[in-house]
Symmetry: C2
């Protein structure tokens, strides 16, 4: 039982005190990116300045701003403004609110984001999925047609809740929650929403006057086909022409990325051409509906419009929570992916605060939910924006539009807006991505499909929640059934690897080397115990026929990142069970946190310090030595 | 960039087909203990026999049963029967149902368990926590005082639901669900319940007639003190005498484990002495309440009493689900811990089926929820039981009691029952265990305390669910924030270990070796990306001052048990980001499932097969070689 002299020393140092462990745990949980790294060791004045720059990024980039940068931002800002006007009006229609609100929403929030946002490429604006989500949730308590003012007030209230939640999550550094919306969930959710919205736009294309307020494929299709008598061929022809035009410009962009601006200004062209056509052809008389009056003037305050009436409050809260999460997931993911292209860093929690403030201020100034939509941000990026100044330029363009041009948009035909929305949505149905998921990970594909079909056939929030639930179950299954494997020696080396993966690896007589992975704790303690015992049984079944027996079980713990009380108890049960069979249990390379817990729970005292090794070789050598010198003396004591 | 000849070959074998991977995944999830191992390669007749023996364990042990074994089981059976009578009556009182139901519940279920159960030591009976849980849940819809028949019928219905759920979980091999009730949760839940029940028993001790139906500490204490005018000193004196006697016998058992039978028969002695006292002293006239009439005869059928009325159904369903889980957790944990002492194996899923059948049959024969209570099982074990025959003996004793002796128990004073319950409950408040949790794992301690205070001050189901919820959050945190560490070379060896744990370990110039642990997937992909980039930044900050820069990042993946699409994308983002900085990324020892996913998603093609190594040494050697031969040529391509 003596340890060999040649073996490397295992660190049995005293466990760190609770305070140290807690501090490091909290830091890893809430500050994984160590945001305050730059402040360390600086004098107070510099630290204050840096902190201010950290929390309000405009202080960092504005002093260094130059005219040469502005040239780029000016161009980018005008380009995204030309996209913001048609999109603003269209998505506002989707949310069942007056189109002017869509324009308001591209004025104030971009200014707020320019101050607090840390992404250089993100363009602020409204998004289709959240617009529809708000509409479907608020419709549950108030019908827009019956009480449009109350409905609008609840939309503002929902935006406020969204903003408050986003700010709170950012301040509490709970960016971790957004991580639980996986790529697969988002792909499926976006695809489902896009399908739904496309079908809904058939209303506009066919010029229907009556429609359903439900947002599932079956209701929408039924509404379209049951109102066949309302179909107007004039509307449909115009709609299809616009749609073909928009899709063609996208095709051009795809073939020649340099001509990205063609597709960027296409919606604006559609709106202008559509408006001129409607004005001169008196389209309204031929069954083509138009947007109608748009008041001149900037955002009126809406603080007094916020409605906290207990009777309705549940709907804005629900809409606020769901849209906050979806908007964050979209905005942060997009900001991050463009930052990575330029090799910059985005702090998710800071972005949350920026989004939150933007929505809080928005809800006070007649705006509804905004985030960083993919389409607009991509256009911004391609147009060569350099800083958040592009958002300021866009806001100024919107200001001018609101002050002078807004009434001109009254002749915009609804069918043109429907074509714009449909064209944008068609790009969000990423069937190649779904196919890629199917090829590489069937479970991810399931998660994606649950979101897609859930959104399309049940409801948007249910679909999202079902998909997140499935992803969580998967996460829990991962931890409940961690992989274990049997190690063998790779010939001509000192390496021990999984014998399933490396079939050439050979076992060691009388010993069974098992590698455990992932944390061991209550959810998988029982499984790991059973699995180890099964490995031993299987090994005994093989060795029985050969005559030599398993006398040592070596547990490689290098991959075990942590262990809790239940986990330690499971190991203890394994040890007891195996010792009763005369099998010695040996631990190899426990990591620092595991070792601390094993020392605290006296597990190390129980098996003896001489049964813990730093490497598989050391352990094998020691076991061989003890097998030779004292076969089966140890281990029967506690049977 | 060429790989060195001396390096060991990495297995880039073609990924296993989906079917194989799915089959192995399902097997590990649902059949971790490989229950059908004995059937392989046997002829059909033997296989049928073995399968029958597997599903109905009595066929396995009964043919081998002998008189010498029966002697032990007879003694153990009589001992537990003497415990079952007072406990049955007491716990039935706790559930607000007629005491005779408690006796019925110790007759049929033990027989069913003897047929289907796989534990040799488990003694079947009712338990305090579940009795109170049923009462508190059913009271939500029907007050026992107002409609005792309906109340009783709903209790039977709850038992049926419990049994159905348990059987279904067992058949679906969802024993995994029980794993999510951690030891800490159970310790806290049991402690809280025991505290509550102890306080409730003050009702019996003080001889109160009016009491609350709420089950939280505040309501119970208020009920006791607001009814002070009902306190009867006669009752209190008798109660305290009994309690002292019972606690003394426990003390004797603790000091002399051989005298365990003293505490085992003590409750029976209490009941008999109490009954005789009540009979001869006409105790009822002195304010000491008695149990009252107990009908002679065995269990009447109760199939026709089951109530599925929509108006009430929610309560029995809720009670059924919660008690099923709690009963399973207690029964399986106890069966397993005694099996481990005797070095035997228990199949959790088979036990679930046995418990389920026992409760289904029980609900048809006027029994309420039964499981394997700790106290009774411990007595059974200590009394030397050898097989499930001890349960049969107990059932026969109960049969005789029901047929002949039941009416004699009508004089049992309620105060004696209260003393029995209190004494049993005091043993369940494991403050040493809570202290042990506090010393070893603060988070486990929190989980335990949430269960304890939740049960004591809110309600039993809320307390349980809050604690399980907290444990789940912890499980998700474990996977959302997996530990990463920087590896260094342990002097005079080829070992690379955590430099925090082994401060003597030295780094390698120009290289940063990181060890990742646990699965990489959507919940932690973002964190791992940020953490790796932070390690690189930190390393650069150190090396900057020394003059040499990080040129290679080596990721040790031996501890990563699986990876999903989001995880691969995170690695890809890391690679892109680091390559843009001119840093090369190298993978070391990916496990089989990770390697499959990396090949499928073309990540390996992206970084090149020559950037994957089997061991840290190989990787370091290759990196050193490529650094020397071509410094910083690679890696800038994608910037």
């Amino acid at each position: 039982m003596t340890n060999l002299e040649s073996a490397h020393k295992v660190n049995f140092a005293k466990p760190r005190c609770f305070h140290t462990a807690l501090k490091s745990g909290l830091k890893e949980t809430f500050f994984p990116d160590d945001p305050f790294q730059h402040f360390k060791g600086e004098p107070l004045s510099r630290r204050t300045k840096k902190a201010l720059q950290y929390f309000v990024p405009i202080f960092e980039w504005l002093p260094k701003y130059s005219l040469s940068l502005f040239k780029y931002d000016l161009l980018a800002g005008i380009t995204i403004a030309s996209l913001a006007i048609p999109q603003g009006i269209s998505y506002a229609k989707l949310a069942n609110i007056p189109p002017i609100i869509g324009l308001y929403s591209s004025f104030v929030p971009p200014l707020v984001y320019a101050i607090f946002g840390s992404s250089k490429h993100l363009a602020v604006g409204t998004v289709a999925a959240c617009s529809l989500l708000i509409a479907s949730t608020i419709e549950e308590v108030v019908h827009q047609a019956e009480n449009p003012t109350l409905y609008l007030n609840l939309v503002f209230t929902a935006t406020l809740f969204s903003g408050l939640l986003q700010t709170a999550l950012g301040l509490l550094r709970l960016g971790i929650l957004v991580d639980f919306l996986s790529h697969s969930t988002i792909t499926g959710f976006m695809g489902g929403t896009a399908t739904l919205i496309c079908l809904q736009q058939l209303k506009g294309i066919f010029g229907l006057k009556h429609f359903t307020t439900h947002t599932d494929v079956v209701s929408v299709l039924r509404a379209i086909f049951s109102n066949r008598h309302e179909w107007r061929w004039e509307s449909a022809v115009v709609g299809i022409i616009f749609l073909v035009f928009l899709q063609f410009t996208k095709f051009v962009k795809q073939k020649r990325p340099k001509l990205f601006w063609v597709s960027a200004v296409a919606p604006m062209v559609t709106v202008v051409v559509g408006g001129l056509f409607a004005y001169f052809a008196h389209a309204e008389k031929h069954g083509i509906q138009i947007v109608g009056e748009l008041k001149r003037g900037i955002n009126p305050p809406s603080l007094q419009d916020l409605n906290f009436d207990q009777k309705y409050i549940s709907a804005p809260i629900k809409a606020g929570i769901i849209t906050a999460m979806v908007a964050l997931a979209e905005g942060i993911a997009i900001g991050r992916s463009f930052a990575i292209m330029k090799n910059e860093q985005i702090d998710g929690n800071k972005e949350m605060i920026a989004f939150g403030l933007m929505n809080i201020v928005g809800s006070f100034t007649s705006c509804y939910l905004t985030t960083g939509p993919f389409s607009k941000t991509a256009v911004n990026f391609n147009a060569g924006c350099k800083t958040a100044m592009a958002n300021v330029v866009m806001a100024i363009c919107m200001l001018l539009t609101l002050l002078f041009l807004a009434p001109l948009f009254r002749y915009t035909p609804l069918v043109a807006l429907s074509a714009i929305i449909m064209s944008a949505m068609l790009g969000l149905i990423e069937y190649e991505k779904a196919y890629h998921l199917f090829k590489t990970d069937k479970f991810d594909f399931c998660i994606c499909m649950v979101a897609f079909f859930g959104v399309a056939f049940i409801s948007m929030d249910m679909g999202l929640m079902m998909s997140v639930g499935l992803a969580l179950i998967r996460a829990l299954l991962y931890v409940a059934r961690p992989a274990t494997c049997k190690l063998g020696n790779i010939p001509d080396s000192a390496l021990y690897r999984d014998i399933e993966q490396y079939p050439g690896a050979t076992g060691t007589a009388g010993m069974l080397i098992l590698q455990l992975g992932s944390p061991i704790y209550f959810a998988n303690g029982g499984y790991i115990r059973e699995r180890i015992l099964r490995w031993v049984r299987d090994e005994q079944a093989i060795t029985d026929s050969k005559g030599n027996d398993v006398e040592c079980v070596l547990l490689e713990l290098g991959g075990v990142t942590s262990i809790d009380i239940t986990g330690v108890e499971s190991l203890l049960e394994v040890t007891r069970n195996l010792e009763a069979k005369g099998i010695k249990v040996v631990l190899i390379n426990p990591r620092i946190e595991v070792m601390e817990k094993l020392i605290l729970t006296k597990f190390i005292d129980r098996i003896g310090k001489e049964s813990v090794f730093l490497s598989v070789e050391d352990a094998i050598e020691a076991c061989r030595f003890s097998l030779k010198s004292s076969v089966q003396i140890t281990g029967n004591g506690n049977a």
